[in-house]
Subunit: 340 residues, 2 copies
């Protein structure tokens, strides 16, 4: 063979297996890993949706705390969530991977197994990427999606009077992270832990909202409601009023008394939930079921004129929405929302 | 304004300016930075070409040696080169950027200026990305390109008897890196230094080869001829014979005697040239001019049956092609080709 067996070529061969077996055959992907670039045949009448996401040791995960297969799953899931947040479907992804020599064996195999499971689940095969050696584990994932032309749901479409909804339960991923930190996770199968390690982007909910033209705006919750809702409001030029008592927060069976304090804080400021935040005209709220394919959909407030963001507290008082979400460039705000 | 002025939001605003002014208005890019993902309208009858590339401090550039505007230019240029290496044209790009707090001021401004110049030059506007804080400067660039369906030039098309060509002059970028390392670069305007700091991907050459159906295979030279030619041969299932005396190597006016030794080594093993390597049926070599739009095109050997790669040396002896190019996972081979 003249395919010289160099360390880099060998690594690329192992990663390529994710492309071959990682998802149902995607006929749109004409050429995957192994050439200078991948070739993808777009569908007529569709727009291409593009997103990329960092996934970095120390910033987004801990080498010694997070299982390698969770790192693989989550690296793809969080980028796919951005595609779901447009109402689109993922089609393929590119992986840039930097690894220490010490992690090219068992760790890499488990990482690739988690990545392959996610690629199958989201029907999103690996199309290409880049690899290099590095002391730290670094990843960047680019996902390419598609949506029927003109159907994408943007952040900018919310109007005063629209009702604000979220999918799922907020704050669970943050609680899962706290379990990981405290090392208690080895002893239980807490759903919050599962949500933190293996988040499931809400592709079906997003697609349904876009296809039926039900929502006026849509985004995903990655940094926490208190950071992400202001972004949606800014893009739409509106304000918002949230009702703390309506927010679907974490339920801790053993600590019912803590709900009003910790759970709301987790729901507002916890990152990594990858749930959807969307707005609906009041005339269309009748089309929103309590749950879609098992995922709860909950009205938590309304879009207002002006630019204020407020939170109606359980005692009925309305106060400015505190901003405590994840901001990597703000050292003064390392609160519950700081991932690591 | 309810666009809260957080550090991360401010950073995104400054980067967004590259998207707005970075290239001629690209009507295909319907939605750029600021939403969960970018929207791109593919052209009918075209395929989408996808690539991503690391650009990491310490591995690919040195924070204290490489000017920030070169880091910006090169981060885009090297990924665009993968698009040129398919015969395609770039359409837009995504930037993932991790920065220390200390580099969010002047360094970032100069970096963005270099990136903006490259985006204009390659007609490839910024469409989106991701930012985070990090002690080291890390980048990942994804480029989306397009090519008429079925016209992409792959690595796998070379056949025995085809003539092997390269564009430009090989080894200049490696020599430029040596100047950077030796600090002599502040005193001269060596073209090798320019090639190292501001490489120009051969978009026009690649497009011409693909449109005219002149080449049977095509790739770009990023790791060095001795690493990259084996990849093309492996993909095509062929061997190759190179002629050392025909390789367009670096010319050092002050050291003519050194040409046969150092210059050939640089040309074979130097990385970062971003020239094109392609093969042409003997019946079509008459269509290859000595230069295309000022870029020299040089026949350096021929594709052979079997799997051997050989180098005919200036003295006429034929020997196995030594493999000395850049492999980030091979610690035993840190030669001239090791970028840093």
């Amino acid at each position: 063979m003249n395919t010289r067996s160099t360390p880099e070529n060998d690594l690329i061969r192992r990663i390529r297996a994710v492309g071959a077996g990682g998802a149902r055959l995607n006929s749109a992907l004409r050429l995957g890993i192994g050439d200078d670039a991948a070739l993808f045949s777009p569908r007529r009448g569709y727009e291409t949706v593009l997103t990329c996401d960092w996934f970095l040791e120390g910033t987004h995960f801990l080498r010694d705390r997070h299982p390698a297969d969770s790192v693989g799953w989550k690296s793809l899931a969080r980028a796919v969530s951005d595609i779901a947040a447009m109402g689109a479907e993922p089609r393929c992804f590119l992986l840039s991977l930097a690894l220490p020599d010490s992690h090219t064996g068992r760790w890499l195999n488990e990482f690739l197994a988690g990545l392959r499971r996610a690629a199958r689940k989201f029907n999103c095969p690996l199309a290409g990427g880049d690899t290099t050696r590095r002391n730290e584990i670094l990843m960047n994932v680019t996902v390419v999606g598609e949506i029927a032309s003109g159907r994408a749901l943007l952040r900018s479409g919310a109007r005063p009077g629209d009702i604000i909804y979220v999918s799922g339960r907020l704050g669970e991923a943050e609680m899962g992270l706290q379990l990981i930190r405290s090392k208690r996770h080895f002893a239980n199968r807490n759903p919050a832990l599962r949500k933190h390690l293996y988040p499931e982007p809400r592709i079906a909910v997003g697609r349904w909202l876009a296809n039926r033209r039900i929502a006026t705006s849509l985004m995903d919750l990655s940094d926490g409601l208190s950071s992400d809702l202001p972004r949606l409001c800014a893009a739409s030029g509106v304000g918002a009023r949230l009702h703390a008592s309506r927010i679907p927060a974490v339920q801790e069976p053993n600590r019912p008394s803590a709900k009003n304090v910790d759970a709301i804080d987790l729901a507002l400021n916890g990152g990594d939930d990858y749930e959807l935040l969307f707005t609906v005209r009041p005339s269309k709220t009748g089309q929103i079921p309590r749950a879609f394919q098992g995922v709860p959909l909950t009205a938590i407030g309304e879009i207002t004129r002006g630019q204020k963001l407020t939170l109606v507290q359980p005692d009925g008082r309305e106060r400015p929405l505190p901003s405590g979400g994840w901001d990597p460039f703000d050292k003064s705000r390392r609160t519950a929302a700081t991932p690591l």
